[in-house]
Amino acid sequence: MTVETRFGRYGGRYVPETLVPALDELTIAWEEAREDAAFQAELARLLADYAGRPTPLYHADRLSAAVGATVLLKREDLCHTGAHKINNALGQALLARRMGKHRVIAETGAGQHGVATATACALLGLDCVVYMGAEDVVRQELNVVRMRLLGAEVRTVKSGSCTLKDAMNEALRDWVANVRGTHYLIGSTAGPAPFPVLVRDLQAVIGREARTQVLERFGRLPSEIVACVGGGSNAMGIFHAFRDDPVRLTGVEAAGEGLDSGRHGAPLNRGSTGVLHGSFSYLLQDAWGQVTEAHSVSAGLDYPGVGPEHALLKDSGRATYVGATDSEALAAFRRLAELEGIIPALESAHAIAYVLRGGEGGAGFASDDLILVNLSGRGDKDVHIAADLLAKEGVR
């Protein structure tokens, strides 16, 4: 089956000519690998024995009582390395090895994708270089140490806003210069084709498992699925299996200091269409097409673009995209810890915040609602940031 390069008018491959042959090669490699039983069996074995899949579906009783509906958490935070990112990293690292590429590069924001990539490369004996913005190197220091411990070289990016966007620019430049022996292991459903499809295919395991688990446990489909959206990989991962079901799909973007504050990471809510990092989608930009800086308390959502399939889901109305602010996310971070003994990643806390405020427009849920939340990562990496900000806000 061929890999699509467009989602409606979105997607495409807006990259220097130097990279196009590599994208063609990757497209063909993925078309073959995803139909290859031996490849899929090896990936399934690693996901099960190494990454810890299937992840549990947890019925969060106290959170459910607090919001007046049944809330289920898909526990991607329990994956090896602490987030859903490992699903994609293992798949692409296997693909890189199959393609005979011995060097892997990656960009990272929160560091979760960088750690997952460094882990997969250590496992498969591949050289690994991770680009990370200087600001993120500071606020996600723990993950920098983990990557180095895993044998990866972490290169600090000091251009532009010194965050995820700039790390991705620098990784693309590295790929342009070293394209023949290097695989660029993109961590989200963004970037030029085939990455949005490749990453979605590898993350779709989340939704496949969850769909089976919910049906087995409750005998019906969930009424709504909630996931945070930066580039959009955990959201696409859980949405995809439910795309043809009568289920509400809700993506929660980083509203930062407020959707109308000018300081947020919400291109689907407040951006416009254009090209960033190789694909046509929504992004934050000024009237001249200069990409503007995003802001979010969570490094993983601090990105001015979003994957092209989300752009189509927004336009078609199949999914709804809302925002959660920094303070809402921090409050949710703390509340989930208190209610359920689970410390979520600040990224995932945005999805929890939406549930805690009673869903769309704060209207509240019906008592028979079955809300499935993708708890995409755990919050160990965020504890010191959260402590600082909670103290500053006087939250006790």
């Binding site: 130097t18 251009s159 532009g160």
Partner: protein, 297 residues
């Protein structure tokens, strides 16, 4: 960066605003006139036994006023065509030197209109080529963008993140304004891709001399002979080499194979290191003259 209420094209001077007719260039012309002004330059150079020299500078760097002096100085020193970059926030095809120049221009509020104005100011001396990342073209509105290019003496536009597969819509709009979308070919391009590029190209083909981003290198052009040979078998359009060419001897090597040569990062680096604009004009003019000599003429 953009003042409130300011929109692309909203502050155009007469030079930038599309005109009905512009100096023998048929603004409303079809395919036949596309790239005509560029071909004239290449034909004349060929007749005179020299290669076309195309210095590059980021528009509005180091400041709009100084940039216009540098352009004049390049032309005085023997440039045939000037390539002007529209500064962009996320230039993935560029190395650190060009990136820093774009950041500096953007920090001063330089816009696409400012760059068009720079071309318009010198339009009677030579044709201009713009380098614009695709998002700056889309944000401006492609129809208005290419009309403003034509009205400002811009004969071709290099879009470094627009491979031939994605180029049809912009090629069509540009052709309506008589402007050529300059396509790039690179060492990793397969023969099938070179066929595609040769079939769609107008004006000239930009040969990326190295597998990498822009910037000076001790060695460059090792991959160029094979790329040029494969292109010559597929096109009669002029071939222009760029990326990694920063010295007269590197330009001479590339000029043996190609019809023209672009030097960019070396000039920008000189400007960045110059204490005054006079010094910047003097050192860059020296490099342009020496390169001119290396390319004949």
């Amino acid at each position: 960066m953009t003042p409130d209420g300011m929109r692309p094209g909203g502050t155009t001077s007469d030079g930038v605003r599309p005109r009905q007719q512009s100096d023998g260039q048929n603004v409303t012309g079809g395919q036949t006139s596309v790239g005509a002004r560029l071909s004239t330059v290449f034909d004349r150079a060929r007749a005179e036994g020299r290669r076309v020299l195309m210095p590059y500078i980021t528009g509005g760097f180091p400041s709009p006023e100084d940039c216009t002096r540098l352009i004049a100085s390049f032309l005085d020193a023997g440039a045939d065509i000037v390539e002007l970059g529209v500064p962009y926030s996320d230039p993935v095809a560029d190395g650190p030197v060009v990136q820093a120049s774009a950041q500096r221009a953007l920090a001063q509020g330089v816009t696409t209109d400012d760059v068009l104005r720079l071309a318009a100011a010198h339009r009677d001396r030579a044709p201009f080529v713009l380098l614009a990342y695709v998002n700056t073209v889309l944000a401006y509105g492609p129809e208005r963008f290419f009309a403003c290019c034509a009205a400002s003496g811009v004969a071709g536009v290099v879009v470094p993140d627009l491979p031939a597969d994605e180029a049809d819509p912009l090629i069509a709009v540009a052709a309506q304004a008589g402007v050529a979308v300059i396509l790039l070919a690179a060492p990793p391009s397969t023969d099938a891709r070179l066929e595609l590029i040769a079939g769609k190209a107008r004006g000239f083909i930009y040969c990326v001399a190295v597998t990498g981003v822009t910037g000076m290198r001790a060695r460059s052009g090792d991959e160029l002979p094979e790329l040029v040979a494969r292109l010559r078998a597929r096109t009669t359009l002029p071939l222009v080499a760029g990326f990694g060419i920063g010295t007269p001897s590197q330009a001479r090597e590339a000029g043996r194979l190609c019809d023209g040569v672009i030097i960019g990062s070396a000039l920008i680096d000189m400007v960045a290191k110059s204490p005054t604009v006079d010094a910047a004009c003097a050192t860059t003019a020296g490099l342009v003259r020496a390169t001119r000599a290396a390319l004949g003429g």
